[in-house]
Each structure stands twice: as structure tokens, then as C-alpha cells.
């Protein structure tokens, strides 16, 4: 039957989920995308506050540009980064090509416009009324802006989670910058969930591809659940 190999794949996958090799790849994915999210948050939050809380000439253009960046395919980010990071490229001396940090850097760039866009939208949604309320209660401009950020915390958490989920689920950058390297016991492995799923699928090793897919979906859904619980608790 046409469904047999899929059913068989799922039943075998359940046994593979606890395999050390599968767990190692899953943990690497979480680590690489976690670092990417932290990096992106570090530069995206100040930029978001600048865009969301300040009025300046060309603000509309900046927002349009940031929103436009969200549509750039991951393979294009991968290509750009590859050209920059390749040993004879302008940033080749950094030695980031085919490393975990290289993937993290690429994913951080990928999710930057996502984080900025969500945070700016949530700041702008309440900026006027919260800022004015704080000012009428005696706050100065800095304190009023801080209060706007505090009140936007739900949106900021949403942005961080959306960024992490996008990073861990992308393939193009992980494949082109990471190279899907795996040597048992090796120190320079770069294989993550998405690159492994892609590799095992084209090799027709369906069971392990499904097992990795289940883990990836579990991480994404688990992180979403956690973020919703945090947001519910905070708001």
C-alpha cells in the first residue's frame, strides 16, 4: 500500500527519538539557534526601541526596509554569508565558515527583521497612550519610554520566540554555512535538525528523518507553549 512506508517510518521513528545521535543533533540545533536568538536580541531590541519610540525623518522608509528584509529567502542569506565568510572573502579571516558560530551568525541576521518588526509594532500600538499617561503622572521622557517597553513585554517575548522558531526551522543558512558536517565524537560537527532531515530524506532513510522531524516540531511547539504561558502570567 502507498501509505505503508510512511506508517512504518513513524513506528520506527518513535524508537529512534531517544538515540544518543538524534539527541546530540537536537541539542546542537537548540544551542545554535539559541545563540542566534541571543545575538539578534542584543542588537534588535535597541534598534526596535529607536524605531518604535522615536519620531524621525524617513522612519516609514526604515520600517518598509526592515519589513522587506523578512522576505529574503534563507538561501540568499546563505549565499551572501558564504561569499563573505569563504577563506578568500572579506570576513574569511574570522574562520566562521562551516562552524556552529557561523550558522548562529547567519540565523541571527535572518531573524533580526522579524524581531524588530514585531517589537516595533507592539511598541507603536501602545506608545502614545502609555507615554502620555506616564508623562501626566510626572515621568520624564526616559522614564515614560521605559514604561512603554515594560507594557510591551508580551510583544517582546512573542518576537523572541518567533525569532527562535524561525532560526531553528530554517535550512538554507545551516546547510550553506554549516555544511552539515558530522563525524562521530568530532569537535567540529555542524549537523542540525533541518540539515539532517534534508539529508536523510534524500537518502530515503525515512524513519530517522521522521524522528528528527518529530523532535523539531516538539521543540517549536514546546517553545510556543512556554512563551504563551509566560505571556499569560505576565499580562
Amino acid at each position: 500500500m502507498a501509505w505503508d512506508y510512511i506508517v512504518q517510518g513513524f513506528s520506527e521513528a518513535l524508537g529512534l527519538i531517544t538515540e544518543p545521535y538524534v539527541i546530540e543533533i537536537a541539542l546542537r540545533s537548540i544551542k545554535v539557534s539559541g545563540v542566534a536568538t541571543i545575538m539578534a536580541v542584543v542588537w534588535s531590541l535597541p534598534l526596535s526601541m529607536l524605531i518604535g519610540l522615536k519620531n524621525f525623518r524617513g522612519k516609514w522608509l526604515v520600517k518598509t526596509f526592515v519589513n522587506g528584509l523578512m522576505g529574503v529567502p534563507t538561501v540568499i542569506w546563505g549565499l551572501i554569508l558564504y561569499l563573505l565568510l569563504v577563506p578568500r572573502g572579506p570576513l574569511g579571516a574570522l574562520g566562521l565558515l562551516y562552524t556552529e558560530m557561523g550558522i548562529s551568525l547567519g540565523q541571527a541576521l535572518l531573524i533580526t527583521p522579524i524581531i524588530i518588526s514585531i517589537v516595533v509594532n507592539s511598541l507603536e500600538a501602545i506608545e502614545s497612550e502609555i507615554r502620555e499617561l506616564a508623562l501626566t503622572l510626572g515621568a520624564d521622557e526616559i522614564r515614560a519610554s521605559f514604561q512603554v517597553v515594560v507594557e510591551s513585554i508580551g510583544g517582546i517575548i512573542l518576537a523572541v520566540i518567533a525569532g527562535f522558531n524561525r532560526a531553528i526551522a530554517e535550512l538554507g543558512i545551516a546547510l550553506m554555512i554549516g555544511g552539515n558536517i558530522y563525524v562521530k565524537g568530532g569537535h567540529y560537527n555542524t549537523r542540525v535538525l533541518t540539515t539532517a532531515i534534508q539529508m536523510y530524506t534524500v537518502r530515503a532513510e525515512i524513519s530517522i528523518a521522521i524522528a528528527l522531524g518529530i523532535i523539531l516540531m516538539g521543540i517549536v511547539l514546546g517553545v510556543n507553549l512556554l512563551s504563551n504561558l509566560i505571556r499569560k502570567w505576565l499580562t
Binding site: 497612550e129 502609555i130 502620555e132 499617561l133 506616564a134 508623562l135 501626566t136 503622572l137 510626572g138 515621568a139 520624564d140 521622557e141 522614564r143 514604561q147 507594557e151 499580562t235
Partner: protein
């Protein structure tokens, strides 16, 4: 000299539209309850926002307690404003009311005491730990007033504070306004299109029409013997 004096205030939001405020001059005395009445869009909110330092006029001067206002932060601790639709910080009633007190550096014990007292004044005793955003519209507006009057401002501005409330909540708020002026000598300027409220509360009223103050006077005089034809028609509830 008057406690609040504005001279020739003009504010235009869009060059294609007529000004929201057109050469407005007013004088208001300390401890006075002053009402700005007029139709929606007449310029009441714009005038209050300028007095609250939330907006700068295009032209004109604003004197507060004999000092010329420069729209910097220094006066912000003397003026508070209650908005038509109450905005709550997404936290407890206690933290909402304590916000301004914390900014002013009050010690914790005193903040606790003041919040308790003001909640009793607005008929919401024991509401400290409730989430502000889940209160009813009337309760939110009373918390907003508590948050403003706990700061004992010299000038309290209220933009149609009872516009969306039921008669019971409106009556409570009117009582609070009267008590605040009596006990704290706060000057109150409020806007309304509710003529009965203006009559009940205000010592003096100004009628604003298309951004211009067309008549100012003692409440009784304005309501019983209006001089301006438009004020007469506004009081009689005629369309114009």
C-alpha cells in the same frame, strides 16, 4: 495675577484644516472648578492637552502660577490629567496609583497609606491587588482619578471624565471632584458636553466653538443670561 493664564493659543494639526484652537485666551483662578464646554471637535481636548504639556501650541503663551511655561519636564509634577477613556498600566490597582508617588520618591509605607486613603475616597476600598485592566469602565475611571489626585497636583485636568459612564459612577466622580477642591485646594479644569454636569460642578464655564472661546463667565450667569447667540443655542440644545 491668575493661577492659569493662556494668551493667544493657536494650534493647527493640518494645514488643510481649520485650526483646532484659534487665538484662545483664558484666565483661571486658584482653587477654581472651571468647565470648558462645547460640541465634539470644538477644541476642548486640544486645549486640555496643551495645558497638560502634552502638546505645544503653534503660537501663544501659557503662564502657570505666574511663571511662563517652556514645555519642559519641570512642571509635569504639578499638573496631572485624567483622560476620557481611562488608560491603565497592565498591573494591579495599587501599582497604577503608586506610579506617580514612586516617581516623586515617597517612601514605601507612605505610598501604601496614601493609596489606601485615596481608594477609600474614590469608593474602591480593598481594590489594591485587583488587576486594573479587568475593572469595569466606571471603576477604571475612578482608579484613574485616584491615580491623579493622590499626587495632590496644583492643577488637575479632566477630559470628559464621565462621558462613557453610568449615572451612579458619574455622581461618584462629581463628588470626588468637589471633595478634592474642598480639601486640597486643587484647581480643576474639565471639559464636557454635559450641560447638567457643567451646571452642577463648575464655578465658571467657557464655551468653545470651532476652536474659539466665544463666551466665559460664572456658571449661573452663562446658563441664565448667555450673551452670545451660539451659547444661547448650545444651552437650549439646538443644532447649529
Amino acid at each position: 495675577m491668575s493661577f492659569i493664564r493662556v494668551i493667544g493659543l493657536t494650534k493647527r494639526y493640518n494645514s488643510a484644516n481649520p485650526p483646532a484652537l484659534d487665538n484662545v485666551s483664558l484666565e483661571i483662578e486658584k482653587g477654581e472648578i472651571f468647565c470648558i464646554m462645547g460640541h465634539s471637535g470644538a477644541g476642548k481636548t486640544t486645549l486640555l492637552r496643551i495645558l497638560a504639556l502634552l502638546e505645544k501650541p503653534d503660537t501663544g503663551e501659557y503662564y502657570f502660577d505666574e511663571a511662563k511655561v517652556n514645555w519642559n519636564d519641570s512642571l509635569r509634577k504639578s499638573v496631572t490629567m485624567v483622560f476620557q477613556i481611562p488608560v491603565m498600566f497592565n498591573t494591579t490597582v495599587f501599582k497604577n496609583i503608586a506610579y506617580g508617588l514612586k516617581i516623586r520618591g515617597y517612601p514605601k509605607d507612605e505610598i501604601k497609606k496614601k493609596v489606601k486613603e485615596v481608594l477609600e475616597l474614590v469608593r474602591l476600598p480593598g481594590y489594591e491587588d485587583r488587576k486594573a485592566k479587568y475593572l469595569s469602565g466606571g471603576e477604571k475611571q475612578r482608579v484613574a482619578i485616584a491615580r491623579a489626585i493622590v499626587l495632590e497636583p496644583k492643577l488637575l485636568l479632566m477630559d470628559e471624565p464621565t462621558a462613557n459612564l453610568d449615572p451612579t459612577n458619574s455622581a461618584i466622580i462629581e463628588e470626588i471632584v468637589k471633595e478634592t477642591v474642598k480639601e486640597k485646594e486643587t484647581t480643576i479644569i474639565f471639559s464636557t458636553h454635559n450641560l447638567f454636569q457643567a451646571k452642577r460642578l463648575a464655578h465658571r464655564v467657557a464655551h468653545i466653538y470651532k476652536g474659539k472661546i466665544i463666551e466665559v463667565g460664572k456658571t449661573k450667569e452663562i446658563f441664565e443670561h448667555p450673551e452670545n447667540e451660539l451659547t444661547k443655542r448650545f444651552i437650549n440644545g439646538e443644532l447649529f
